[in-house]
Symmetry: C2
Subunit: 417 residues, 2 copies
């Protein structure tokens, strides 16, 4: 293993595709704002479809706008092996989140066709509609949820974007019929592998270009609202206050400390807080804040959540505050398929790409696809662990290394020796 094996993937091919996609919705030097169903998004999906055709793939668009490129296998009746990620971005985000997985999937299939011709099993590269919920706050995983049949019939009418536009209107603007969303559901996917930037610091810390995801974190997201009694900051003695800020600070400190003390891999974040009336000299009437608690270990997740909720109730009762606890999302950890993880690990070894297995602390389309297919993920090192920001960066070398591993794994799966 002292010699580097020949690489199948030309780094330049990956780099130029990423740069070309980043022009659709470019913001500043390095940022991208490509919101689902926007003109920039339509142009990006058209670009993706064109690359698929150029790569010899058979192109289809489904009823929510996911673009599929097929490399048809000799055994066309078997469930397919799919790869891909999402084409929408944060507002603004970087050029790699999602887009790199789309580029890697198309590149992998085109290279496999060039090198090996038609596969035994049908391969598909997919460019998914919407993962980020950056235009419609309640529409995350729109593309992958359509595929697994988890979009309600009334949802397109109900969802409204930050821009005031409904999902129905946005879909029509992109030439889609919102009445046909259910038709995007499919049951012919055997395997889904998503390549994505890590968005965290572990690969950089370990000095490795690639990670192989064994498990995707479970999480619960709360909106916690504490209601007390607004009053004058100067005239109300401390011992007569019902101060929701005091309660919120105690809970926020407590949940963050709990996750810290329980240790890796669990994490708890309070990213959002809204104070009412938010006046310097007024004890607040109400403080609302989010709690986002995650662990990829099912038992650790349960312990973490139980401790958080016990603290919330205890503090609210002791301070005579009215607690309202809303669970906005809740998901058990998802296990990747062990055989698939092993296939990817062997592909990395064969490619001479140093890699480690790891957990994903972020959630991904693959987590949705796990409901209908066996899944795994290939992670690529993120510079500084930064993402959801124009400062997001991954080197061309790392992007190509991840694509190399993905391509070789797909080869193993679809071209049995």
């Amino acid at each position: 293993m002292t010699e580097t094996p020949e690489r199948w993937i030309d780094p330049e091919r990956v780099e130029s595709a990423i740069a070309a996609l980043a022009e659709h919705g470019a913001r500043g030097e390095t940022g991208v704002a490509r919101l689902v169903y926007s003109p920039e998004w339509v142009a990006a999906q058209d670009q993706v479809a064109a690359w698929m055709s150029e790569g010899g793939l058979r192109v289809e668009r489904d009823t929510v706008g996911n673009v599929w490129g097929y490399l048809d296998g000799r055994q066309g009746d078997l469930p397919i092996i799919a790869t891909g990620s999402h084409i929408d971005s944060q507002n603004p985000g970087g050029r790699f989140d999602g887009a790199l997985g789309v580029v890697a999937g198309i590149t992998a299939l085109a290279v496999l066709r060039e090198r090996f011709g038609d596969p035994e099993r049908t391969l598909a590269a997919v460019s998914l509609v919407e993962e980020e919920a950056s235009r419609f706050p309640a529409a995350n995983f729109w593309g992958s949820r359509a595929i697994i049949g988890r979009i309600g019939t009334e949802e397109p009418k109900r969802l409204r974007g930050y821009d005031g536009v409904t999902m129905v209107e946005a879909m029509r603007d992109a030439g889609l019929d919102p009445g046909l969303v259910q038709d995007a559901k499919r049951d012919d996917i055997d395997t889904f592998i998503e390549l994505h930037i890590e968005q965290g610091p572990f690969l950089e810390h370990e000095n490795l270009p690639v990670g192989i995801v064994e498990r995707i974190t479970g999480y619960r997201q709360y909106l916690v609202t504490l209601e007390g009694a607004a009053n004058h900051a100067g005239t109300t003695p401390m011992d007569m206050r019902r101060d929701p800020m005091a309660g919120a600070a105690e809970i926020i400190s407590g949940v963050i400390d709990t996750a810290f003390r329980m240790g890796r891999p669990c994490v708890t974040t309070v990213g959002r807080a809204i104070v009412t009336p938010n006046e310097r000299a007024v004890i607040p009437q109400q403080v609302a804040f989010t709690v986002d608690a995650r662990s990829p270990l099912p038992e650790q997740r349960e312990t973490l959540l139980a401790r958080h909720e016990a603290l919330m109730f205890e503090v609210a009762e002791r301070r005579d505050l009215k607690l309202s606890l809303r669970v906005d999302s809740d998901r058990q950890p998802v296990m990747c398929d062990p055989a698939l993880v092993e296939t990817i690990a062997q592909a990395a070894t064969a490619a001479g790409v140093p890699a480690m297995t790891m957990t994903s602390g972020a959630v991904h389309d693959a987590m949705q696809m796990a409901e209908i297919a066996r899944i795994a993920m290939v992670f690529v090192r993120s510079a500084g662990g930064i993402s959801h920001s124009p400062d997001e960066f991954t080197t061309t070398e790392d992007a190509a290394a991840g694509t190399e591993v993905l391509t070789r794994a797909l080869h193993t799966l679809a071209y049995p020796s």
Copy 2:
């Protein structure tokens, strides 16, 4: 003392004046939004001037719009004895905050004239322009600061209201020349007594209608900004975070607990917090919050502030957060004049009005006037301790009792026996 002395003040007179003033800027059933230099405010000051004339007072308006009503004394060359409060309100506030002191002052002087004719010392009732800073966030104590000569020559140009209008424009709208603000300064006030609602729970708790203020709280108001590193809520382990929310929660909990443990009369409030970017799944980049710390005891104030600041620096350093600490206002406690407090206490006894001495946790125009005059305050019970709200309420009986005490104290001062 078993017989109730004859009352000089007719409660109906106070009640009807409060109700009439509340019509200028009425909001809903009980609220008032009377912002300085607005048409409602102009109408209210005109009403005040009319009542002064009807009461036999000589009316003058100064160059910032304070309205003065004089009951000229036989010794007209001696410094005057003034009483009054402010005519502007919160947005919206109640009908008593400020307004009751204006009504009480005019009523007191009119009744003294009716009963006793001209005084030895000149008495003045004043309706002050602006105390609340509810239109111009940086203009509090505009009227009293003009009187003590504490308005900068450039201030009218610099100040801008929440409505975008500059102080220069607002003054012109009210028929005033902003170039003449300095002319409102005066040096002929010997004594200033302000009657005001308590805005706190102490009188209600003690079941007393009236309080006599011995001391007005000192305070310091900070804007604390903590800067960390924004990152993904799922992928960044707890031990690698620089989370300003964790630091803010620890400091907020700490300063509130410190004031609680130090006990009455000190208070610390965090009324305002701004999180950036304020996204559920993003560790914040920055959390900014206000700290308002008060004590009427000079040594306790210093201890409180020293503990708060030590905690801020300690937490920021330990958590590797960038701390920016801005002091927005800072004021030592103000002592009321002991002889004046005693005069008011004797007036309460003579009137048969149960009263206690107390400190003011709120700040008032009297605090400004203390720079040029000896001061004291008469507090009147607030129902539920509520103020800065349309729910603010004081009974007619209590309002009249406070006015009775004020009137008798002014009689002692201006009509020496």
